[in-house]
């Protein structure tokens, strides 16, 4: 098989209600990520920026084709611990940032599969042909309630407490994350987004907006649709198309990490 890459398009916007952007994102030929910071205005920006900046630095190592795949996976998985550590150090240095945290959802393209590393309520979706699937599972109270069948899917969209997180990177060092692996197919389209998108558009709507458009247009359509619905939060989207050629190894950082 010839070499697979991500061809990406990414954008982050403040939205119509927030006064600053606490989201960050990253797009490159082998790694895409979205982080949604929280903890007061400045602190949220700092946290998501730390996540993406640290990730970008580490990715130079684990996306290096000369590294053997197992070590690459280890380094990838370990990068979340490094980010967590860096958040802790930042708080130690600047106590006013105490309590800050960030979500982080990322896909790492290996030889013929993607590895999903995920914490919080940002999301990873895959469009393959006509099927659109959420690959990540939210770390939210709502998701726990859904898992327990205490509420139904139809209650979620309107539930006032839908964004209480159960897990987040906040320098507490107690991470034990799985690393699910998904086989890839050429022409797969991956979408990473912050909850600024997934909380205002349904899965069906998101699918209708990214299907059949080229990726730049799809990103624009998603952001525009979010604004049509009032854009109550920062919104960040990264679209990664799986292509069979080498994409330039350029790392694009957006949002607070830009």
């Amino acid at each position: 098989m010839s070499k697979l890459s991500f061809a990406t398009s990414a954008r982050s916007a403040v939205g119509l209600v927030r006064s600053g952007n606490e989201d960050s994102g990253l797009a490159s030929a082998h790694l895409v990520a979205v982080a949604d910071g929280m903890g007061g205005h400045a602190a949220g920006e700092v946290a998501s920026n730390i996540a993406i900046t640290t990730f970008a630095e580490l990715s130079e190592v684990f996306t290096n084709p000369e590294i053997d795949p197992e070590s690459a996976d280890d380094l990838y998985l370990h990068s979340f611990h490094t980010i967590d550590q860096n958040i802790k150090s930042a708080v130690d240095e600047r106590p006013e940032l105490a309590g800050m945290g960030t979500t982080l959802t990322s896909l790492f393209l290996r030889e013929d599969s993607v590895a999903l590393l995920h914490i919080g309520d940002s999301r990873a979706y895959r469009l393959r042909g006509n099927s659109f699937d959420q690959l990540s599972v939210d770390h939210t109270v709502i998701q726990e309630l859904l898992d327990q069948r205490a509420i139904s899917e139809s209650d979620v969209a309107t539930h006032p407490q839908r964004s209480i997180l159960t897990q987040v990177l906040m320098g507490e060092g107690n991470l034990d994350l799985p690393l699910p692996i998904f086989e890839v197919k050429v022409k797969d389209r991956y979408l990473l987004c912050s909850d600024g998108l997934s909380s205002v558009l349904t899965e069906k709507e998101i699918k209708s907006l990214i299907k059949g458009r080229d990726r730049d247009e799809a990103v624009t359509a998603l952001i525009d649709a979010t604004y049509i619905n009032g854009a109550p939060d920062n919104v960040t989207v990264v679209i990664a198309d799986l292509v069979e050629n080498d994409q330039p190894n350029h790392v694009q950082k957006i949002g607070a990490a830009e």
Partner: protein
């Protein structure tokens, strides 16, 4: 233990143990009668919060003298806090009803009447039970009903302690009223709600809400409408369904306002008379009140989570902080009375002016009493700078640039020009000026004709996005066509492929259930 308590009560056999206390049979040496003595568990007797709660319980219940209430005779503190009570020969309702089993309608109503009679008496004396549940209802050997454990007194200021301990120790949220679930004070109508949960269970074999954790059950009490009993057991009379629907209303003001009012309606059910009380059924968490309630609800959830976590951990690292985001500064300060609160102010479009926009450390973080909690209070929406490079941009780029800084295009005016159609000619408010974040901007653009896209049969959001991107404004209507899937566009005007001036409105009709 075999000693004379308060130089008067000779302790005998232990007959029960609860979350907080152990219960013994004892001989009252002075009055030569058998009594029950409830002694606070020794591990809890060292915790001042529990001792205070136990003392309040004793004091509240001591004045109650009613056949439907287990009488409290005496109380004391040495060697551990204790309460001396009437010895009732019988079982608790929890032992009587096995899970999943129903009671005959008349017996279930009798038990509810027994509880309500006791409540009517105590409520008249301004004593709220706050914790009606099967384990607190005795069924005597003769079949009479007696309510016990009155007044788990809960003041706003010890909310944290009691919620935590209630859920931690008692471990049930199945009979919790919505207002208690969101951390608000219970009143007599909370008891009516809890009694109704219990009656619901007697009639159907299951409480109105079930779930694996107290948190998920509490969530449902606060936000989901209770099922109608006849959807579970369709052989029940319609009128009892009405009585329960009223009594299980989310808002206390929509319920029976007294135990007697509910007793009156139950009497009608028994006589086969029509119940005329109306169900109001307003949702408890309305959109408008979400923020305010949301805050305290989060506090309750946070605290309940604390309770769950703390059951296995030590508590030396401080209490978990409640969530105060969305609350007024005053309310937040009250909830954080044990901490040193610092206030900052900042713009925030999501949180109304003068309410807490963020807190540090975050809710559910542990913080030691007296430590600093920084609250950022919203100054309302901030300012946005109208980008100064808008003139000459295409409509689509201008919209992106505006949305990126938090502004919205509300109107486009087409004006003849030699520029390509859709080019931005003028901006109001003008470029470089300061506007309120989230406010709208009017663009004047070069006129020209644009082909209206076909929108019929596509997702509404898809259609709107296409229109906005083509340079049109949206006029949105709803109608219902049962032959078409919901959420799709079923009509549009003007028709697809017609030419329309850029910046004009296109009307779409979206299929929506009436």
């Amino acid at each position: 233990m075999n000693s004379l308590l308060g130089s008067r009560y000779l302790l005998g056999q232990m007959i029960g143990t609860g979350g907080m206390a152990d219960v013994y049979i004892a001989q009252d040496q002075r009055l030569a009668r058998e009594v029950a003595v409830k002694i606070l568990r020794s591990d809890l007797a060292r915790d001042p919060a529990f001792v205070a709660r136990f003392r309040k319980e004793a004091k509240a219940a001591a004045g109650l003298n009613h056949p439907g209430i287990v009488a409290v005779y005496d109380s004391g503190e040495e060697p551990a806090p204790y309460i001396v009570m009437e010895l009732v020969s019988g079982q608790t309702l929890r032992e009587v009803i096995r899970q999943g089993e129903r009671l005959p309608l008349n017996r279930a109503l009798e038990i509810a009447e027994g509880i309500l009679a006791g409540l009517e008496y105590s409520h008249a004396r301004h004593i709220v039970h706050r914790d009606i549940k099967p384990a607190n209802v005795m069924i005597t050997d003769k079949g009479d009903v007696k309510v016990m454990d009155f007044g788990i007194a809960r003041a706003m200021d010890d909310l944290g302690v009691t919620l935590t301990s209630t859920w931690n120790v008692v471990g049930t949220a199945q009979y919790l009223s919505p207002e208690q679930a969101v951390g608000e004070l219970a009143d007599s109508r909370s008891d009516i709600y809890s009694t109704s949960c219990l009656l619901f269970e007697l009639l159907t074999g299951q409480p109105p809400f079930t779930g694996e954790t107290p948190v998920s059950i509490a969530f449902q009490h606060a936000s989901s409408t209770a099922p109608l009993v006849r959807t579970i057991k369709n052989d029940l009379p319609a009128d009892i369904e009405t009585v329960l629907a009223v009594a299980l209303s989310k808002k206390p003001e929509d319920r029976y306002q007294s135990a007697q009012a509910m007793l009156d309606d139950i009497a009608k059910v028994r006589l086969g008379k029509e119940v005329t009380t109306k169900v109001v059924g307003k949702p408890f968490l309305t959109r408008r009140s979400t923020l305010i309630l949301g805050g305290s609800f989060l506090a309750a959830i946070a605290l309940s989570v604390t309770g769950l976590l703390m059951s296995g951990n030590d508590k030396n690292s401080g209490e978990m902080l409640p969530n105060v985001v969305g609350l007024s500064e005053e309310m937040a300060r009250a909830l954080l009375a044990n901490y040193s609160v610092t206030i900052k102010r900042a713009h925030d479009g999501a949180i109304p002016k003068n309410r807490v926009a963020s807190q540090q450390p975050l809710a559910t973080m542990r913080a030691i009493s007296g430590s600093v909690v920084i609250l950022t209070v919203s100054d309302g929406p901030g300012d946005a700078l109208v980008p100064d490079n808008l003139i000459g941009m295409s409509l689509i780029d201008a919209r992106s640039a505006l949305t990126a800084v938090g502004l919205l295009v509300s109107q486009t005016i087409a004006s003849p020009s030699n520029q390509p159609q859709g080019t931005v000619l003028e901006v109001s408010p003008p470029v470089g000026s300061i506007a309120t974040a989230g406010s709208s901007v009017i663009l004047t653009i070069a006129s020209g004709e644009v082909t209206v896209p076909n929108l019929i049969g596509i997702e509404a959001i898809q259609a709107k996005t296409l229109l906005i991107q083509a340079g049109f404004l949206i006029n949105e209507f709803y109608d219902f066509d049962s032959t078409q899937p919901e959420g799709l566009v079923i009509r549009q005007a003007p028709d697809a492929e017609t030419a329309q001036t850029i910046g004009q409105s296109v009307t779409i009709t979206i299929n929506k259930l009436p």
